[in-house]
């Protein structure tokens, strides 16, 4: 019987057969921690008796969730991370470098075939690069830094085939929201997802990252794609390491195979307070908003900012709306300055905040007021997610968020598209 991508990558890293359901101890290619999870991991690392990180060059810490620090308490935790990084020789990305899930692929830490863990649930993002990447907690992070290894239960795989081509004005975010709606917030719990089909191949690597990012929103452990020429070219520009692309066997054993023709999909939004309550934007058009957010590890990349700028260039956002833009990394910010995107967004009324998580997790940078409605490009809209449980959060593409900021109410971006 053939094997899935997840089974092959875990077998390659454990020396075990690694069939779904097995428990394996595997060698890690890369380990990441962010500022919400690393401080606790550092405590745990010391409690384990850790005095040195097994392989410092295979790890990085990122200060992105609360960057710059909003309080003394957070500053102390950041300081603790900086101290640990100096002591252990582990790279740290400090305030302003960007969101961990943008930095790790962008800085070339991940190549096809890798096994990666990160102490953040959206570590699954790197699955778009054909790496088995999964989110863990602080104790796993500590044990991984200590030993360079981690135990895994090999997941069964659900294959999701997307046929056809996305229509004009419909983005990867719309596609993944549609999939979350179909599969459900726990539809892939304990599983790996394999995304395949022409609709996926046609997407840019950046857009594929958006899809893999939301695998965890379906409960999945990883969201994997095969590596094609686009992937290899993207990675070659960033990493000197040799990729080891892994393909699923034609007779691989899947828990489930879903097939969709995605040619007729419209733009979608997730409505409060569940990520899997997904409707076409047209179904909620006209809903007033007070805040719009473009950024996060889901949609803070250059293409997203450009999508928004195409809608907003030369115009002005509606009165009574705040538009917050947080580029996903310093590099993206620089690129978006160079091509004029940032100028267009700011001229249209956007408030630009530090590259990083921005207001995504509700600790700073734009906490909504009671009763307010927010539309965001993020991946989660739980009650209280943005720091106020009396606010409502809709999730959509950068184009949908920009179009909504322009009119002051939720708007199908195809109404205001340039061409």
């Amino acid at each position: 019987m053939g094997r899935t991508i997840a089974e092959k990558i875990l077998a390659n890293h454990s020396g075990q057969p690694a069939r779904a359901g097995d428990i394996v101890l595997a060698d890690l290619d890369f380990i990441m921690g962010q500022d919400g999870t690393s401080p606790l991991a550092i405590d745990v690392f010391r409690q384990m008796g850790g005095v040195k990180v097994a392989e410092p060059s295979k790890a990085a810490l990122v200060i992105d969730h609360n960057a710059p620090s909003p309080s003394e308490g957070v500053s102390a935790l950041h300081d603790m991370m900086r101290g640990f990084s100096r002591e252990m020789g582990v790279q740290i990305y400090d305030v302003g470098e960007g969101v961990c899930h943008q930095l790790v692929p962008e800085q070339g830490y991940v190549v096809p075939g890798d096994l990666v863990i990160g102490a953040d649930s959206h570590t699954c993002t790197y699955g778009a690069l054909n790496a088995f990447a999964t989110g863990v907690g602080s104790t796993d992070l500590a044990a991984a830094l200590y030993s360079g290894k981690m135990w895994f239960r090999v997941p069964p795989t659900m294959r999701v085939l997307c046929h056809g081509a996305l229509a004009k004005g419909v983005t990867a975010k719309d596609l993944v929201l549609f999939l979350v709606g179909q599969i459900g917030a726990d539809g892939a719990t304990y599983m790996a997802l394999e995304f395949a089909g022409e609709a996926i191949s046609q997407l840019s690597v950046d857009a594929r990252l958006t899809i893999a990012n939301m695998a965890v929103e379906m409960g999945a452990k990883a969201g994997l794609m095969e590596a094609d020429e686009k992937t290899l070219a993207w990675v070659a520009g960033r990493s000197a390491r040799q990729p080891q692309p892994v393909q699923a066997d034609a007779d691989a054993e899947y828990e489930k195979v879903l097939e969709f023709d995605v040619s007729d999909l419209p733009p979608y939004v997730a409505v409060p307070h569940r990520v899997d309550t997904v409707v076409p934007v047209s179904a909620v058009e006209g809903k007033r908003i007070q805040q719009a957010v473009i950024g996060t590890c889901t949609n803070g990349r250059l293409e997203d900012l450009q999508q928004a700028a195409r809608i907003l260039a030369g115009k002005r956002i509606a009165e009574g709306v705040r538009l917050i833009v947080a580029p996903a990394s310093r590099q993206i910010l620089l690129d978006a300055i160079a091509d004029g995107t940032i100028g267009q967004l700011v001229a249209a009324g956007a408030a630009l905040v530090t590259p990083g998580c921005g207001p995504c997790v509700g600790t700073h940078n734009g906490i909504p007021a009671d009763g307010e409605t927010v539309i965001s490009t993020a991946n989660r809209n739980f009650k209280g997610r943005m720091g106020n449980n009396k606010a409502k959060i809709y999730l959509g593409s950068a184009a949908t968020v920009a179009a909504s900021a322009l009119s002051g109410m939720i708007t199908d971006p195809r109404r205001v598209a340039d061409e």
């Binding site: 999870t37 935790l77 863990v136 569940r274 600790t363 720091g387």
Partner: protein
């Protein structure tokens, strides 16, 4: 697993489906401090403000599908442990929460246990997967795999690694 440590008995607190980590401990608190006793005072604050006044050491959380979904915050199981919770029994768990619970020493069993109310009594045997309510109703969960029982028995991954100087097993069938 040691027979005595595998048997738990307590009063239940009942929750529904999709209890995410933001509901267990809101993100606005978790970044403030590493002090779990302080954080534990805010457990379930947004969805069950009386929980913290009600909870007693040894109590058990019973929930529906997808318990612990959302972020990877390990503060979620730690906060439950510090609030005095001795185990969580849920129809299903989000996988990161499940791992984090084992790693921090919070026993978790997957089983649909229905028809209970806050304050009802429940007994749980982690080694056999047997679950019994105060009124005699019984359920059978899949017992945990041996690796996880070992980690739990050692009190979590920290004491487990300290004891073995590493993971102490070499993968494969792990028993």
């Amino acid at each position: 697993m040691n027979k005595e440590r595998a048997k738990l008995h307590g009063r239940v607190h009942v929750f529904g489906d999709d209890i995410n980590t933001d509901y267990i401990i809101a993100g606005k608190y978790k970044f403030k401090t590493n002090d779990m006793r302080e954080l534990a005072r805010h457990a379930f604050e947004d969805i069950d403000p009386e929980f913290i006044a009600r909870v007693q050491p040894g109590d058990i959380v019973v929930a529906g599908n997808n318990f612990g979904c959302g972020s990877s915050r390990e503060q979620a199981p730690l906060v439950l442990l510090h609030a005095g919770i001795s185990a969580v029994v849920a129809t299903s768990f989000a996988r990161i929460f499940f791992r984090n619970a084992i790693n921090t020493g919070l026993p978790v069993l997957q089983c649909p246990v229905e028809g209970l109310q806050n304050g009802d009594q429940l007994s749980v045997d982690l080694a056999t997967g047997e679950i019994m309510a105060g009124d005699g109703r019984k359920w059978q969960a899949n017992p945990l795999p041996p690796v996880m029982l070992q980690i739990l028995q050692n009190g979590g991954l920290v004491p487990h690694i300290k004891k073995h100087g590493g993971f102490g097993f070499e993968g494969g069938a792990a028993d």
